[in-house]
Structure formats: C-alpha cells, structure tokens
C-alpha cells in the first residue's frame, strides 16, 4: 500500500447507505432482511437459463424502484470480472466430467465441454451478478444500524431457547462502531512507522515472504489496540449499568406497515416461482 493511499481508510463504511427516500428505503428492515434471504436462497437454487434471466430482470427492477443508480450494483460486479472469467474457463475445461449430462461438444484429453457444463458456467455467472445486485439494494437502502436492529428483532423469539439475541446484536453494533475507529488508529500507526522509514508493500509482488513480514508491525499492534480498548469499554459499559442477560427496554421500535407485508408476500411468491419454474 503506497503512502498516498493512507487517507483511504478514513472513509471506510460497511454497507454504503444511500438515502434516496424511496419506498424501498422505508420498508421495515426486518421485512427487507427476510425478503432478501428468501430471494438469495431462491436464486441459489434456480439453475435454469430462463429462471436466471427473469431473476436478473427482477433485481434490475429493484434498482429502479429504490432509485439507486444501477452503477452502484455494477461497481460491485466489476472487480469480480477477472475472477468470473477465470472461474468460467476453469469450470468449462475441467467440470465436464462432473456435469456430464447433455450433449458433448468437445472432448480432448481431460478437457470435456458439454451443454451441461456450459449451462453451469453461464448460470453461476448470472447467479453471482444477481446476488451482488440484491445485496447492493439491501445495503444501499438500509443503514447498518437499521440492519442490526432488524436482525435483533427477527431473532427475538430465540430468546425463549436462551439464545442471547440482544447480546449478539450488541456485539455486532460494537464491531460496526469500532471499524472506523480502528481504521484511523491504523492510519496513525502507518504514518508513524512510515516516518521512521518503514515501507509497506514496497517490496516486489513476488517477494511474498518480504511482503508478509512487512505487515506484522501493523497487524499485531492493531490487535493490541483492540484488546486494550476492550478493557476500557467493559468498564464504561458496567458503569452504565449494563448486565448481560438483564431485562432491558429498547429505544428503537420497529413498525411494519401493511404495505411492507405486501412486499414480503410478493417476494415470497416470486421466490417460489423461481424455484419451481420449469424451464
């Protein structure tokens, strides 16, 4: 990582919330999470050409509805393109034996290309793009805070089987809370060490051992910082009467409107359709 890239870490966000105020933004986060999960599951199962084309059109429609430029979704796909291509080639060349159904187009040594393996390649590429798009819509239209609250609320019934729902959501909140803090800390350490002449990732890329050694002076202090902060935070939370497993009230109340349930119903039906779609 070159010196001018130091500043990058300051702007880290997990999930890049883009408030456009569309109706998708206003849907109860719990509903969105359930709908998302169902959709992803359906996409993962659906392995036909037609099904995937329909699914792809549907997720593009979601971008329109949430008034988020499709560019945001594409930017998630772009860095993956080389991998998609490499993977596709590998699958195409070596997966013929496993996906041995269909017509055999080419057979040369270990290389077997069948209509089945071609389908596998195209469908998995499409699937990947669809999943990136759906998750982009979810994270762009829902803030991380909302997502965490939604998750916690969904898991609430698990309390009856002693599952620590609130504790889990607190853990996730703390994790999200500290990412930017640690990033800034990291930046400070990099600058301090750079000023003492340390170089990060300056070694040539093939010197793997060198480059790996370069990262220890950064990574290990990062863990130390985290663990030390943890001790402080424990005290601060106790000072504010926090008791794990205790009865608490909650400030944020989630309310799902009738329209939200309609959206959920629609997503469920659509997912079922994808799963059973015969072509």
């Amino acid at each position: 990582m070159a010196a001018h890239e130091f500043e990058l870490t300051r702007n880290i966000t997990i999930g890049q919330y883009l408030p456009t105020g569309s109706f998708i933004h206003r849907i109860d986060p719990r509903i969105k999470i359930v709908a998302f999960t169902v959709l992803v599951a359906a996409i993962a199962v659906c392995d036909t050409y037609a099904g995937n084309i329909i699914a792809l059109s549907f997720v593009c429609l979601l971008f329109r509805l949430s008034r988020i430029p499709v560019g945001y979704g594409l930017s998630g796909v772009k860095p993956a393109m080389p991998f998609i291509v490499i993977l596709a080639v590998l699958q195409l060349l070596f997966y013929g034996e496993v996906a041995s159904g269909g017509t055999v187009y080419l057979k040369y040594g270990v290389i077997i290309i069948t209509s089945e393996s071609i389908r596998l390649v195209i469908v998995s590429a499409l699937r990947f793009i669809e999943i990136i798009f759906v998750s982009s819509v979810l994270t762009l239209s829902t803030s991380t805070t909302q997502l965490t609250h939604g998750m916690a609320s969904l898991l609430k019934p698990l309390k009856h089987v002693k599952f620590p729902v609130h504790e889990l959501s607190l853990i996730i909140t703390i994790a999200i809370r500290f990412v930017p803090t640690f990033a800034m800390e990291m930046e400070k350490m990099m600058k301090a060490q750079a000023s003492r002449g340390a170089q990060f990732g300056q070694s040539a890329w093939w010197k793997i051992v060198e480059r790996t050694k370069d990262m220890f002076p950064l990574i290990i202090p990062l863990f130390h910082v985290a663990m030390n902060r943890a001790e402080d935070l424990v005290l601060a939370m106790e000072a504010r009467c926090y008791t794990p497993g205790g009865e608490r009230t909650s400030y944020r109340k989630l309310r799902a409107r009738p329209g939200d349930y309609l959206v959920l119903l629609f997503c469920l039906l659509f997912s079922l359709f994808l799963i059973w779609f015969p072509y």
């Binding site: 990058l8 870490t9 880290i12 997990i14 999930g15 992803v40 993962a44 993956a80 991998f83 998609i84 490499i86 993977l87 590998l90 699958q91 070596f94 496993v98 596998l120 998995s124 590429a125 699937r127 990947f128 999943i131 998750s135 504790e167 853990i171 996730i172 909140t173 703390i174 994790a175 999200i176 809370r177 500290f178 990412v179 803090t181 640690f182 990291m186 890329w205 793997i208 480059r211 790996t212 990262m215 220890f216 950064l218 990574i219 290990i220 990062l222 863990f223 130390h224 985290a226 663990m227 902060r229 943890a230 935070l233 424990v234 005290l235 939370m237 106790e238 008791t243 794990p244 497993g245």
Partner: protein, 185 residues
C-alpha cells in the same frame, strides 16, 4: 467463569469482529499469493484469537461476523455463496478453542501456537470443501489452493496468534502486569 456471555466476552467479540471486518475492507490482511480462490488472508485470525482467549462462543460469533463481512464484501463468486462464505467460518474459533483447551496442560505456549495453526487450517479445509461441494472449484484445484493459500495463512496465523495472546494473557515477563477488572457477573 463459563456462565454465558459476560460483558468482557461481548466486548472482545465486538472489537475482534471489528478487526476482522477492517482487515477485509482495507485489504490489509491479505497475503499476496494470487490463486484461483483469491489472496490468502489473515482475516480469520481474530476468530482464532477470540476462541482462545474467551472461549468457543466468542470464537463462533467472531467467525460469524467475519463470514458475513466476507460475504458482503466478496468480489469473487465463490464467496457470494453464504454456504461457502459464512458456514465454514463458524468453526474457526471453536476448533481453535478446543485445541487450546486440549493442549493447555502440556504447555501454554504450545497450546496457543497449535490452536493458531488448527484454527487456520479449519478455515482452509472447510471453505475449500464447501467450494468443491457447491461446484465452484474442481477437487484438484482445491488441493492446490489448500497448499498455496492454506500454508502461508497457517504460518502467519500462528505468529500473530502467539504474539497477541501471549501478551494479553501476560504470560512470561511481559513487564507491566495488570489484572482484568471485574467484568464477570
């Protein structure tokens, strides 16, 4: 001590989860060995450390955070599949803890080191197995990746785990000794 989640367990799971996320988004935790499954990473090390210092539940939760974040940030199709990105990660901290607990009686240092190794290998093996099952990688490719990525990952994991855990537990003559204040209700 093992009675559910204490404040300390919650907080340590949280901050180590933050480190796991950070190592992923900044790519700081990447070991540059380019292979079909992307770079080798040390993003799983927080789960290993969490498992060793605070037990299997904390290790599992950090693994979950790591898995979800790698799922959300995935740039390669392999990790856009929750069965590959999330499920295997739950076991990292758990196996690390079990190893540590098993070897503790032999030697604290050895236990930490071996746990760092086992936790890392758990990640490699389970992720790749899942990748083969789900049809992203051919078995032969997976074995290659296990060697080219898995080994450097395991080595780095052992070093970082030892450095962090030994000093957290104030083993040896680490100088400034501190007792952990309360935290356990």
């Amino acid at each position: 001590m093992e009675k559910g989640l204490t404040v300390r367990k919650i907080v340590i799971a949280g901050v180590l989860g933050a480190v796991a996320i950070l190592l992923g988004v900044t790519r700081l935790g990447f070991i540059p060995v380019p292979t079909a499954a992307g770079n080798a990473t040390i993003m799983h090390v927080p789960a290993v450390i969490g498992g060793i210092v605070q037990g299997p539940v904390v290790g599992l939760i950090i693994g979950l955070i790591f898995g979800v974040s790698s799922f959300l940030n995935a740039t390669i199709p392999l990790f856009k599949d929750p069965l590959v990105a999330i499920l295997p990660r739950l076991f990292i901290g758990v196996t690390a803890y079990l190893t540590y607990a098993g070897f503790k009686r032999v030697s604290e240092f050895a236990a930490i080191g071996v746990a760092g190794f086992v936790g890392s290998i758990t990640n490699t093996i389970l992720v790749l197995t899942m990748a083969v099952i789900r049809g992203y990688l051919a078995p032969g490719v997976a074995v290659t990746v296990a060697v080219t990525n898995g080994l450097p990952e395991a080595v780095v994991s052992v070093i970082v785990t030892l450095a962090v855990v030994v000093s957290w537990k104030k083993l040896g003559n680490a100088g400034k000794k501190k007792s952990k204040i309360s935290g356990d209700f």
